[in-house]
Amino acid sequence: MKGSKPMNRRRLTLLTTPILAAALLAGCGGTTQGDDDAGGGPAGDASADPNAEYETGLSFAMLPKSVNNPYFDASSTGAEAAATALEGAFEYTGPSDASASSQVSYIDTLSQQATDVILLSANDPNALCSSLEQARAGGSVVVTFDSDVDSSCRDLFVSQVDSDEVGLALLEMAAEQIDATGEIAILSATANATNQNAWIEVMEAELESNPSYADMELVDVVYGDDEDEKSFSETQGLLQAHPDLKAIISPTTVGIAAAARYLSGSEFKGQVALTGLGTPNQMREFVNDGTVTEFALWDPTALGELAAYTGAAAASGIITGAEGEVFTAGDLGEYTVGADGVVTLGPPTRFNADNIDDFDF
C-alpha cells in the first residue's frame, strides 16, 4: 500500500493523553444532569387592563416551521386578516427547511427589527428559548401557535384544541368505524413532536381506562416525520407487519394524506379504516372514493387569526398571560386564557361525505 502507516501510536497517545486526563480530572465533581435548576422565564409583572383598546399600527410577524407548507399558508391568511383589521403591518417569513437552527436566525432578525408581535410555530421546544428571551427583552410579544416551546420562553400559546379533546375525538372516530374491536395503529409526525405525543398519550390512557374500548388494541406507533414519502412507506410497513390491522389513526395532516393515498391504491382500501387530522382539500378525493369515512381538523385560518389577536391583546396590555384573563378576538368571539398562558381555539371539526364540500382550506 502506498504511503506510510497512518497510525502512529506514539503520537496518538501524545495527542489523546491530555484530553483524557482533562476529562477524568473534570469528571470528579463536574456538572451533571439535574444540577442545574433551569431558572424560570421572566415573570409577567405587568398588570392587565381588560378594558384597554387594541393598539393600532402594531407590527406582526408570523414565523412558521417552514414556509413551504400549505397549513401555515392558511394560518397566515387568518393572521394577516387580523393584522389588517387592527391596522397593523404583517409579515410572513421563515426558513425553507423545518429546522430549529434556521428559525433562530429568523427570530434574531425579527427581534432586531423590534417586531411587536411574533407568532411562532416552533421546530424545537428548547432550542429557540434563548433567542426568544432576547426578543422578549427587546419588547416583542411572543405567541406560539400550533407547536409550543417551553412555557417559560413565550408569553402565550394558542392551542388549536385541547389535547384531551383531540385524543378523545380521534379515538371515538376510529372506534365508530370499526365497531370498537380490533388492532389499531398510529402514524404520527416526528417522535418528539409535542402535540402528537400529547394526543397519543391521551389515547393510550383512554384505551386503558375506558371499558367501551376494551376490545381495541394499539399495536404500533410509527413516525412518518411529516414527510410525504416516509409516511407513505411507513403505512406500507404497518400493513405488512400487522396483517390484522383494522384502523390507522394519523394525527397529522401529512401523514393522513399519505396513508390515504396508499390505501386508495392498495387492496386494503375499504378494509382498513383511516382517520385522523387532515385538511378537507387534501382529503376530499379519498372521502369521495370511500377510502376515508371521517376525519377531523380545526380551522388553521382561524388559528392564525386567533394567534394574531392574542398577540395584539398582549401587546396592548389587555392581557398579560395570567390564567383567567378574557379578551375578544374579533369575529371569533371571546376567549379566556387558561393555565400556563394557553388559549384554546375550540373543539375540532369533523369532516365526512356530508359536509366536506362546505370547506375550502
Binding site: 484530553i19 476529562a23 433551569a38 429546522s99
Partner: protein, 334 residues
C-alpha cells in the same frame, strides 16, 4: 521596474483579495442601506451564525488544499451532539462530556482518514459513505428525541458576550483557531507540505513529505473540529439532536470554494475563506433584514458558488490572452 510593480500588484490581483474586497464593500453598503444591519447587536448575531461554518471551514480548507474532501463533517457534528445527549442522560459530567465529544470527533475523522489514506479510496466516495453512516448512527443513538436540559452556565456562555459588551464569547476561540490554522497553513513547514501534497502528491512524497500521514492527521483534525462544533452547537441551541447541523457540509464546502480554494488542491488561502464565510452569512442576514424571501438565499448561495470558480477561470483565460499578446509583442521587437 515592471517586475517590482508586478510584485506589488500581485496580492491585489488574487481571488483572495477580490473576495475580501467584495466582502468589505458589501458590509459597508449593507450597513448604509439595510436597516439594523450595521449595529453591534447584529454583528453579534452574524458572528454566532457563522461560528460553526467558519470553524468547519478552517479544517476543510486544509483538507481541500491537499486535494481531498470531507463531506462527513456535518454528520460528525450530529453524531457528537447525539453522543453528548446520551452521555448527559447517562449522568456524566459536562466537563467530561465536552473533551470526550471532541475526542469522538477525532476518532470519526480518523476512520475517514484510514479509509482514504490507508486503503487508498477516493475521499469523495468515502465521506459520502460516512456522511450517511455517522448521521445514521446519530439517529440510532438518540432517535428523534432531543436532550435539552443543558446547564445554563454553559449554554449562556455560548450566547454571551465578553463582559456583557458587544463581543460574543465564541469569537475568542474562533479567532484563536483561525489564527492557528492560518499560521499552520501559511507559515509552517506543515503548511508547505499541505500545498505540495495538493499540487503534486508524487513530487511531494519524493521531497520527503509523508503525504498519506499528513492527510490522515488532517482528517483527524477535521473530525476533532467537527466534535468541537458539535459541543458548541449543542450548547448554543441547548439541544442535542441527531439532525443537528444536517446539510451544513454543503455550506462549508461552498464557502471554502468561494474563498478561492481549488477543489483539485494546491491553491487557496485562508483569508479568502474567512472572507467568504463572512460574506455568505452577512448576505443571508441582510436579505432577511431586508425582508427578501428565503428562496433568494438558496439562489444566491448557488450562484456565488458557481461564480467563485467561473470567475477565476474567466480571469485566467483573460490573463493568458493578455500574456500571449505581450509575448508576441516582445517577440516582434526582438
Amino acid at each position: 521596474m515592471s517586475a517590482d510593480l508586478r510584485r506589488l500588484a500581485r496580492p491585489l490581483m488574487t481571488w483572495d483579495a477580490a473576495i475580501i474586497a467584495v466582502t468589505l464593500a458589501f458590509l459597508v453598503v449593507a450597513s448604509m442601506t439595510v436597516e439594523h444591519f450595521g449595529t453591534a447587536r447584529n454583528a453579534g448575531y452574524i458572528i454566532l451564525d457563522l461560528a460553526p461554518i467558519l470553524l468547519l471551514a478552517l479544517t476543510m480548507t486544509l483538507i481541500v488544499t491537499t486535494g481531498e474532501i470531507d463531506l462527513s463533517v456535518a454528520s460528525t457534528v450530529g453524531l457528537t451532539s447525539a453522543a453528548m445527549g446520551v452521555m448527559w442522560n447517562g449522568g456524566m459530567a459536562l466537563e467530561t462530556i465536552m473533551p470526550v465529544a471532541v475526542l469522538l470527533g477525532a476518532v470519526l475523522g480518523a476512520v475517514n482518514g484510514l479509509f482514504v489514506t490507508g486503503f487508498g479510496l477516493p475521499s469523495l466516495a468515502v465521506t459520502i459513505g460516512t456522511l450517511a453512516l455517522y448521521r445514521g448512527l446519530a439517529y440510532v443513538l438518540l432517535g428523534d428525541t432531543a436532550v435539552a436540559d443543558w446547564p445554563r452556565l454553559f449554554t449562556g456562555w455560548t450566547l454571551g458576550t465578553i463582559g456583557d459588551g458587544p463581543v460574543p464569547n465564541v469569537l475568542i476561540p474562533m479567532l484563536v483557531l483561525a489564527l492557528a490554522c492560518g499560521l499552520v497553513l501559511h507559515a509552517t513547514p506543515v503548511g508547505r507540505s499541505i500545498y505540495a501534497a495538493g499540487a503534486n502528491p508524487i513530487a511531494a512524497s519524493r521531497a520527503g513529505i509523508g503525504v498519506g500521514r499528513l492527510k490522515f492527521w488532517l482528517y483527524v483534525a477535521s473530525g476533532a473540529m467537527a466534535g468541537l462544533v458539535g459541543v458548541l452547537w449543542t450548547l448554543r441551541y441547548s439541544s442535542a439532536r441527531a439532525d443537528n447541523a444536517a446539510g451544513l457540509e454543503l455550506t462549508v464546502i461552498a464557502v471554502v470554494l468561494l474563498g478561492g480554494v481549488s477543489i483539485f488542491g494546491g491553491k487557496g488561502a485562508l483569508p479568502g475563506v474567512l472572507a467568504a464565510v463572512v460574506l455568505l452569512v452577512s448576505v443571508q442576514n441582510a436579505l432577511r433584514l431586508a425582508h427578501v424571501s428565503t428562496e433568494a438565499l438558496t439562489v444566491v448561495t448557488g450562484t456565488l458558488l458557481i461564480a467563485a470558480v467561473l470567475a477565476p477561470n474567466a480571469l485566467g483565460a483573460l490573463r493568458t490572452a493578455l500574456r500571449r499578446r505581450r509575448t508576441t509583442a516582445t517577440g516582434r521587437t526582438a
